[in-house]
Amino acid sequence: MSHPKLASIFNKDEKKVDWHDKALWFVRHKRDKSVHHVQGWEELRNLGHGIKAHMLSNLDIYLREFEANANKNGVEVHWAANAEEHNQIVHKILKDNNAKKVVKSKSMLTEECHLNPHLEADGIEVIDTDLGERIVQLAKEPPSHIVLPAIHKNKHEVDELFQEHLGTKPCDGDPQYLTGEARKHLRQKFIEADAAITGVNFAIAETGGFVVCTNEGNADMGAHLAPVHIACMGVEKIIPKQEHLGVFLRLLARSATGQPVTTYSSHFKKPSDGRKMHIVIVDNGRSEQLSRPDFRASLHCIRCGACMNTCPIYRRSGGHSYDATIPGPIGSILSPGKDLTKHSSLPFASTLCGSCSDVCPVKIDIHAQLYKWRQIITKETPQPFIKKKSMQVMGSIFAKPKQFEKVGKIARWSLRTLPKAVINSKPNAWGKARDLPTGPKESFDDWYKKREENKGKNN
């Protein structure tokens, strides 16, 4: 389904939309308060952008360097061209180690590859251990936000979900109690796990190590308890040097939630004695996105979610209406590169206000890329009849000033005179769920001419 259709489903519950909107704006506000206290914040963003751009322009070299160093550290490196190969590699590692119970910390890549259903089909238990991800896993839903996976659920829904699946007592949605119960439930899963899967926030070419950031400590609980640790990363997670973490760790959490840094920034390099560590490096369309000069900067993304929290469309339509692993503005420039037809409505789910680009910690020109995707999509995918026709008519009207003036007069008269039922009739998409303004008596052109005449008189 297209974004407008899914968004209209989300919009049926107006109170929930308002609540969702406010919850995300609150996070955006926390981000503002935090970054305004950082001396040289704009310079930090420039550095983030510059380091990522440099990395992409040398990506093959840095990937080779990373692989060589990781091997030296005793880590096994695997390469997956697509989602299917990624799932097969992870599956094989688990089988080789006779792993039946797996704990997973947050990884948008494994969501993108639909790893869980692949493993579950073979009877392997996969437990998402980030609290928000566990909530959506129990609800059998995908995450609706990359940092706040269950932001679309209120505490009463979580309360009911936990009563059903974890046997908790009714608690009127007490977050403290619910989190405590989740801790107990997941602690057991950590203790029993045969293997741990984590994502990767940054992989350092210079050392062959990688960094995983969490607030809950779930990545570390999984990785240090289970005998096998599998870390999955997209090719673009590479940074050249360890000192570059100084830039990215200053940017990431502040942009995401307004915290000065995540609670745990764990630097994994070598497995501890008798344990195994694997890294799976995944392409899955990234090298193709790299070939598109207009869109390759989307690969700078460090997955902070700031563009979602600030986006007026995301806040009012919810993450699920994007029907993509990565929702929101950044997802809307990544997804069309993977499947233009399926995701053709996403670049239009924007007001092009540019707020996403303003908050992006690595200065991706998100709104400019949304605009560019629109140009491609209108040419390459079939457009609705009314939109196509009205664009043609508008084009011819705008091309002739005399005609434009006449049509303007009729339109202004119509807005003043015709009944609402006619003005907001079905073909007028702009009259949907909003009232159009009363038509003014004179056009801007008339007003300007009058003003010029009056100027002459006053002199």
Binding site: V27, Q39, V158, G217, E243, S266, S287
Partner: protein
Amino acid sequence: MSSRDKILSRIEANKPDALALPNIDLSLFDEGLDLVQEFTKKAEVVGANVIDMVSNDVVAKVENLFPDAKIKYSAIENTSAFNTIDLANIEKPQDLEDLDILILESELAVAENGSVWVTDKQLPMRVLPFITKHLVIVTSKDNIVPYMHQAYHKINAGNANDFGVFIAGPSKTADIEQSLVIGAHGALSLTLLLK
């Protein structure tokens, strides 16, 4: 061709012309922080309890702060009397599940975000600071650097670590309706003792 070679050759073909790596000019960020004051402020923001030590008796302080702790372990020197467990008898990290309190030392702290750096060198087992109920970390005021940039300079200048972690406050989550709850999967509390 293997997937590895396919991916690398596609990237090589598709990447843009080489762009220079930007230099990091640290003077742009410098605001002349009072390191101890800023560190204390930020550590409290991220939920840690910061205590300025008047005496050097860490164990006495911790016994006093956590009188009910039963299973205790300290990884700092000359504190073995504090320990109720012997790591030599711990067969697997899962056996540490009931640990009430852990004392560690850190040689690096960051003023701008209230975090402390802990590595394999201070950690006999990696899971320790995550699995313990309460975590106490001792550090000297001389170890505080202003920003993450200086922290990495110090890390790069020292011996290489196989595992290291910046810890900023106790574990936490706000995944239920954005309400902050302290104590997710890791430690329920973090106490920082500043010497």
